[in-house]
């Protein structure tokens, strides 16, 4: 049994020019202890599909799926109150902009203890002790002092560690990391990725890594899904994706990496691929 099972997920937004399909028939499976990377450019629907799974999209979005199962629980059929018991506890998410995702009006300590009180029913002393333990786990120095800090008093890397601590606070079965390191420096990125991989291995979590950075994919993933304009273009294990990409789009994406540059100009996707060619080899 897969931890998260999505079949034929579609998300539509109503716009002034008619419905816009942000996600078009995406299917995926994640097992416990597995790292799945979803790669794509902006607008490829990689974040939206995960937000849909968590039920975090605004009411203007129309979410349909043949199957949207987490641990054999149908997420689409749940009431909002029941879903809230799962989201944030068993499925947790780390967002792209750590500084923007934390509430600037409250201390980071309050924000992590709030999660512990609501989801786990811990009292004040217990939630504080657990918060210190979690800050320690994600490598924040002086955790007890740091609890009283506001997000603006911390650096981007520290804020991202707080986000990770909050996401891990209830020992989630599935962690969704949406571009967790895009806003960070390379050296901090390395630390955060190492931390995520260590925690994922220790807790046997399922991890979905949403990114557009091929280097991050290469360093973390077991399996990779490539998305383009809301559709799944390719799915493969990480080695075969980099070694022998099947879709022309994936090949073009890898060729556009400056690492792989051979001539004095980079090959670009728009030059030699139309949408039809990209979708021709798409998997469902």
């Amino acid at each position: 049994m897969a931890l998260l099972e999505i079949e034929n997920l579609a998300v539509e937004f109503q716009t002034s020019t008619g419905p816009f399909r942000a996600v078009d028939g995406v299917s995926l499976k994640v097992d416990a202890g597995e790292v799945l990377a979803i790669v794509g450019e902006s607008g490829s629907g990689k974040s939206v599909s995960m937000l849909a799974a968590m039920g975090l999209l605004p009411w203007t979005a129309k979410v349909t799926a043949d199957k949207l199962l987490f641990n054999d629980i149908d997420l689409l059929g749940l009431s909002a109150a029941d879903r809230r018991k799962i989201v944030g506890k068993d499925i947790a998410m780390i967002f792209q902009e750590p500084v923007a995702s934390l509430n600037p009006c409250f201390t980071v300590g309050f924000q992590i203890e709030e999660v512990l009180r609501i989801h786990l029913g811990l009292d004040k002393a217990a939630s504080r002790a657990r918060a210190i333990e979690l800050f320690d786990l994600v490598g924040i120095p002086n955790p007890a002092d740091r609890l009283g800090h506001f997000p603006h008093q911390m650096s981007g890397g520290q804020c991202q560690r707080v986000m990770i601590a909050i996401a891990l606070s209830c020992n989630p079965k599935l962690l969704i990391a949406d571009e967790p390191t895009t806003a960070l420096d390379v050296t901090i990125q390395k630390q955060i990725l190492d931390l995520l991989m260590r925690l994922q291995a220790e807790h046997g979590m399922g991890l979905i890594m949403i990114t557009h950075n091929m280097g991050v994919v290469a360093e973390t993933a077991d399996r990779v899904i490539v998305q383009y304009k809301g559709r799944k273009i390719e799915e493969a294990d990480v080695l075969s994706l980099f070694e022998s990409p099947k879709s022309p789009y994936t090949r073009a994406l890898l060729a556009a990496l400056p690492d792989n540059a051979t001539g004095d100009r980079l090959p670009t996707i728009a030059e030699f691929l139309s949408d039809d060619q990209i979708f021709a080899g798409a998997v469902r």
Binding site: E41, D185, M214, V238, A256, P258
Partner: protein
């Protein structure tokens, strides 16, 4: 050949005023940095946030004066703290910023954005300004019909092209690029990097390219300078720096850069299987 840009021992301090209970303090953002760039070459400045690379960009672009040290542009000494900047000097250096969503005025049409530097710095006639803007749009891969559109109608990559076009309107000698591709998707990044290379060939432009992405730096730079806490800890030709980094920070930086080649994936999977 004289260098287009030469910096000798540039220092920049920021003074943070104190309050009733707190003493003021001085932040040393740039601590004595020297470098030079020749015409048609690219110098890449690498470093983490807070290392002083953007402060350096502001000094080179003549937005902020240096606290001490000399800066020479085309062999001519510039010190904006002492004398007012002439339009001729202003035309020599232009800058492209990181975020193409924040640097274009949303209430102005593309044509007005492109012609504004000409209005301020030259006495060109309106027709000529328009012709020049049209020509520049084509040069950066956009079309004439985009002249009367607003920034919100463009994608991130297109906006960065507009920002580059605006920087080139005054025929600068030196272009400072402050993380020009870090907000862009991989495929768009490739297009913009190609455009920059084309423009450099055509106009013999000199670039100061600020970035924290080493794979981009390795691709585009001739010389590389690594900055760490306001100091240049490593400065040399690209191949030298990449093949034989001297300073421990540069080595850390290289080790931290994610690698997308097959061998390192195999090595990682092997480590994972063994654990």
């Amino acid at each position: 050949m004289t260098a287009v840009l030469e910096a000798r021992n540039l220092v920049r301090d920021y003074y943070i005023p104190g309050s009733l209970m707190k003493k003021g303090k001085t932040v040393h953002a740039v601590k004595g940095v020297s470098f030079s760039v020749e015409q048609g070459k690219t110098l890449a400045i690498v470093g983490e946030s807070g290392c002083g690379k953007s402060t350096l960009a502001r000094i080179v672009t003549m937005i902020d004066p240096a606290t001490s040290g000399d800066m020479l542009i085309d062999g001519q000494k510039v010190d904006i703290a002492k004398e007012k900047l002439t339009p001729e000097m202003r035309q020599k250096v232009q800058i492209v910023f990181q975020n193409p969503y924040g640097t274009l005025n949303p209430r102005k049409k593309i044509g007005d954005i492109l012609t504004e530097p000409l209005i301020i710095n030259t006495r060109m006639k309106a027709d000529d300004r328009r012709d020049k803007a049209m020509a520049m749009l084509k040069k950066v891969g956009l079309e004439e019909k985009h002249y009367a559109r607003y920034p919100h109608m463009f994608s991130g990559g297109q906006r960065q092209r507009i920002a580059i076009a605006r920087a080139l309107m005054l025929n600068p000698r030196l272009l400072v690029l402050d993380e020009p591709v870090s907000a862009l998707d991989l495929s768009v990044q490739a297009q913009v990097l190609n455009l920059l290379a084309d423009l450099q060939d055509e106009f013999q432009l000199t670039y100061v390219f600020i970035s924290h992405d080493l794979s981009v730096v390795r691709y585009i730079a001739d010389d590389v300078m690594v900055m760490y806490y306001g100091e240049a800890v490593e400065y040399g030709a690209r191949e030298e720096v990449f093949s034989n980094p001297q300073h421990s920070y540069t080595q850390t930086l290289f080790a931290a850069t994610p690698r997308a080649d097959i061998d390192s994936i195999k090595a990682r999977l092997a480590r994972k299987a063994a654990a």
